[in-house]
């Protein structure tokens, strides 16, 4: 076996309160494809970010062809021959294909002006090498996602990258486009490059990878040749820990059906989503990123109107055309993207908490600051929001405390049903546990909860029932006590069912 192109040894990365990677070692052989597996949050993306110079590792070393490297910027990673193709492409929509390929290292002529003909010729040559029929002068925004991936591969080749990282490259591709991509991966292999392939889809991993590395909670829990393992073994490796003990589940008496959703559909993103939700129940909605869970719940909430389906709350048929209809009826939705959709960071805590039902604080004609303050104090204390004062701007709070304020805003509307979309995404461990505990408390007070999460321990720790969505449809349902981590992941990824 030849010398590895890339070696990572003892790699660790910590953020305040979170250990994203711990003592991970791996090596990539030339002409091979290595798959990295793991649940969301297992540390896959952190590895990619360390390798592309976006994060600096807290500990450990990176060697390229035996030579010690330290990346202080993405440029250094490019120079060392490492290129990444990202989940959602990070490129410049308004620039041409050629400009995108050569951004940062455009060929220049005399007087440092860009040599356009040289650049277009070289771009055309690179694209031809991967059989991509894309004119170099096209603006990027005219291309499909698959074509953009090809441009990224051409960009990687323009750097003579020896290591190509593909972070869920097939997430948005059709079957034919995936075939094309895999043909190029095979070509990269044949040219002696190393490919690091990150995917949730087992069929792809078995089809394309030579080796695998499995991560869990930032640690390496297994590696080897892909030919030596089976799918169930991999799933078990991924979910391995005893998930049930992490978040103690409260004993809650589950009452009557509160919300009944039937046949919820829209044109493209989800179809025929139906479920009943009972008082005090926590319904987990599990699936891979892009399975349509968020879209379906936003349809329920009136953000993107659904095209079909009925929503019945406490026996009353609702017609929800806008979020305000849902709020009035008693449905709340805590969005996933806290910074963009949840919090208004330039406003204070009080103004955020009261925003979704301002009419409640009106005395006479005007808002009453006293009653706003009373509600803010009540909910702020209940959620243990840490702040200097209730007028403090959200921008000055930590992510976890911002999330608590957003949840407080929705509790202030006194909902009957609350949809939590990835409520613990990107927040520190301490706040995470507090949010989990709080979700249990809400249910015990009779609130019906829909919990969208991509974290298996979270859904298994908190939910009474789990619906699994895949490609916009509910593909499976599990009751507490009748599920296994393997079965849930299997349903979400479409892996074979014998796993359970």
């Amino acid at each position: 076996m030849s010398q590895p192109i890339l070696t990572l040894s003892g790699l660790s990365k910590s953020f305040p309160g979170v250990r994203a990677l711990h003592d991970v070692s791996l090596s990539l052989r030339p002409g091979s494809v290595t798959a990295i597996l793991g649940e969301n949050g297992a540390g896959k993306s952190t590895i990619v970010k360390v390798l592309t110079g976006i994060y600096r590792p807290s500990d450990g070393e990176i060697r390229v062809r035996g030579e010690l490297k330290s990346f202080s910027s993405p440029r250094d990673a490019w120079a060392a021959g490492i290129a990444a193709i990202h989940q959602e492409t990070v490129m410049f929509d308004e620039l041409s294909v050629a400009e995108n390929i050569f951004m940062g290292h455009m060929p220049t002529g005399p007087a440092r002006f860009v040599d356009w003909s040289e650049m277009h010729a070289r771009a055309a040559a690179l694209l031809k090498r991967i059989d991509a029929a894309i004119p170099p002068e096209f603006k990027l925004k005219r291309l499909s996602v698959a074509q953009k991936h090809l441009v990224e591969i051409a960009r990687a080749l323009s750097h003579e990258a020896q290591v190509v990282i593909m972070d869920e490259p097939t997430a948005a591709l059709s079957a034919n486009e995936i075939d094309d991509l895999f043909r190029i991966v095979a070509q990269l292999k044949a040219e002696g490059r190393a490919v690091l392939f990150i995917s949730h889809k087992f069929d792809e991993i078995f089809r394309i990878a030579d080796d695998f590395v499995c991560l869990r909670d930032g640690e390496k829990v297994g590696e080897g040749a892909i030919a030596s393992v089976t799918e169930p073994q991999l799933v078990r490796m991924m979910v391995g820990r005893p998930v049930d003990q992490v978040f103690p589940k409260r004993d809650v008496a589950i009452g009557d059906v509160v919300l009944s959703v039937a046949g919820l559909s829209n044109a493209t993103e989800y179809a025929d989503v139906s479920f009943d939700l009972r008082k005090g129940e926590i319904l987990g909605l599990y699936g891979l990123v892009g399975a349509g869970r968020t879209e379906a719940m936003q349809g329920l909430f009136g953000i993107t109107p659904k095209t079909r389906g009925t929503v019945t709350l406490e026996g009353r048929r609702l017609s929800i055309g806008a979020p305000s209809d849902a709020i009035t009826a008693g449905i709340s939705y805590v969005p996933e993207d806290r910074q963009e959709q949840g919090a208004i960071v330039s406003l204070g805590i009080r103004e955020n908490v009261t925003l979704a039902n301002l009419s409640k604080y009106i005395r006479g004609l005007f808002l009453s600051r006293t009653s706003e303050q009373a509600e803010t104090r009540r909910l702020g204390k209940r959620l243990a929001v840490k702040a200097a004062n209730w007028e403090q701007k959200l921008a000055e709070l930590s992510g976890g405390n911002q999330q608590k304020v957003v949840i407080a805003k929705w509790l202030a509307t006194r909902p009957k049903v609350i949809v939590l979309d990835e409520p613990t995404k990107g927040i520190d461990v301490g706040s995470k546990a507090a949010v989990h505990d709080f979700i249990g408390e809400l249910a015990s007070e009779g609130l019906a909860v829909v919990l969208i999460t991509s974290e298996l321990p979270e859904v298994m720790g908190l939910a009474d029932r789990v619906l699994v969505m895949k490609e916009g449809r509910v593909v499976d349902a599990f009751k507490r006590g009748q599920w296994s981590a393997e079965a849930i992941v299997g349903a979400a990824t479409g892996a074979a069912k014998e796993a359970a």
Partner: protein
């Protein structure tokens, strides 16, 4: 190995309702800067010209900016929610032309004002519809309608002027709505107030209450700060945006009526260039062009500063071009001051 042990919530943890008031924070408020500027303007002008501090002169001076100031109130709300309406002056012209024709058709003062406001309403609704239904950027839409509305006026009127108006209508624009009243004590009196300035003051109080005291006002701040999160919070973002364009159009129509009544005639170039004067008032008033920040008090103060600067300079026969240089420099300086102070200020260690 497991780090997921829950942290117990801090129980005896006191969070204040509001931050302690500190003098420095109060002094750095935009409105305070504007008050200082206003006082400085009055002091300098009083020293330079003996005619400045005369109630009749000052009352006359308000004629020159009140119509623009009325529109500035609506513009302030639009800029607060990250929109802008550059067609306001063109709406003034279109409304004024409508009033001209209505006057010829024998309308009375009430009918003429209603005509102006009605035309403004339609123009504003047109702007609002383009911005909200088709998700077009308002700066582009209103540059377009600015040309469109002004162009319609020019095509219909050519170089003609409208000069026939009923006397009661002209009286509303040209005389003091509230007459000077002496109380017998030399320094205590009711100053003369033109109708346009009175309308501005009443509307300013109304807008101030709506923006700073009502739920709708809070929703406008939320939209200006983060329109996406505002929508997720159940705020009817597009409805409110549409409404603001309608209000902007109506106030432009009202201003057109007041202006026509004051001048007693109108041509197609009436109010040319006003839109930028109005935007200047709003920006100087401390409304952030990035949205989410501003106050009606600031806009009122900025209107007074700009009005008195212009009036003072005209008393001293300083040509208009110089006034414009001064106002430009003032705007840039006043906007730069807080940024500079921010950089200089040393943050206290918590």
């Amino acid at each position: 190995m497991n780090m997921d042990t829950p942290v117990p919530p801090v129980d005896r943890y006191i969070v204040l309702d509001a931050p302690p008031r500190r003098l420095r924070d109060v002094l750095l408020r935009w409105e305070v800067i504007l008050v200082i500027l206003l006082v400085a303007t009055i002091v300098v002008n009083t020293i330079v010209s003996p005619y400045f501090l005369d109630v009749f002169n000052l009352a006359d001076a308000t004629f020159n900016f009140s119509e623009k100031a009325i529109i500035a109130l609506a513009m302030a709300l639009l800029i607060l929610v990250r929109e802008i309406d550059l067609s306001v002056a063109a709406i003034v012209a279109l409304a004024a032309m409508g009033i001209g024709y209505a006057a010829e058709a024998g309308f009375g003062p009430v009918g003429l004002f209603a005509t102006g406001i009605g035309i403004g309403l339609l123009c504003g609704a047109f702007n609002g519809m383009l911005v909200t239904w088709f998700s077009l950027p308002s700066i582009v839409v209103t540059i377009g309608t600015m040309s469109l509305f002004r162009g319609i006026t020019q095509v219909i009127l050519g170089d003609q002027a409208k000069t026939k108006y009923p006397q009661e209508f002209l009286d509303l624009g040209q005389s003091y709505f509230i007459k000077m009243k002496e109380t017998g004590i030399s320094w205590l009196f009711v100053p003369p107030v033109p109708l346009s300035f009175l309308i501005f003051l009443v509307l300013a109080v109304l807008f101030g209450l709506v923006l700073h005291k009502t739920a709708v006002g809070r929703q406008l701040f939320a939209i200006g700060s983060n329109p996406v999160a505002a929508r997720f919070s159940g705020i009817p973002v597009d409805k409110l945006r549409f409404l603001l364009f309608v209000v902007s159009g109506m106030l432009s129509g009202l201003a057109g009526a007041l202006l026509t009544a004051r001048l007693g005639s109108m041509r197609s170039n009436i109010g040319v260039g006003w839109e930028l004067d109005i935007v200047t008032m709003v920006i100087l008033g401390g409304v952030s062009i990035a949205g989410g920040v501003g106050s009606i008090l600031g806009v009122v103060l900025a209107v007074l500063v700009l009005g008195l600067v212009t009036f003072g300079m005209s008393l001293n026969n300083i040509p208009g071009q110089v006034v414009s240089v001064y106002i430009g420099a003032l705007l840039i300086a006043v906007i730069a001051i807080p940024r500079i102070l921010d950089k200089v200020r040393v943050r206290p260690i918590r």
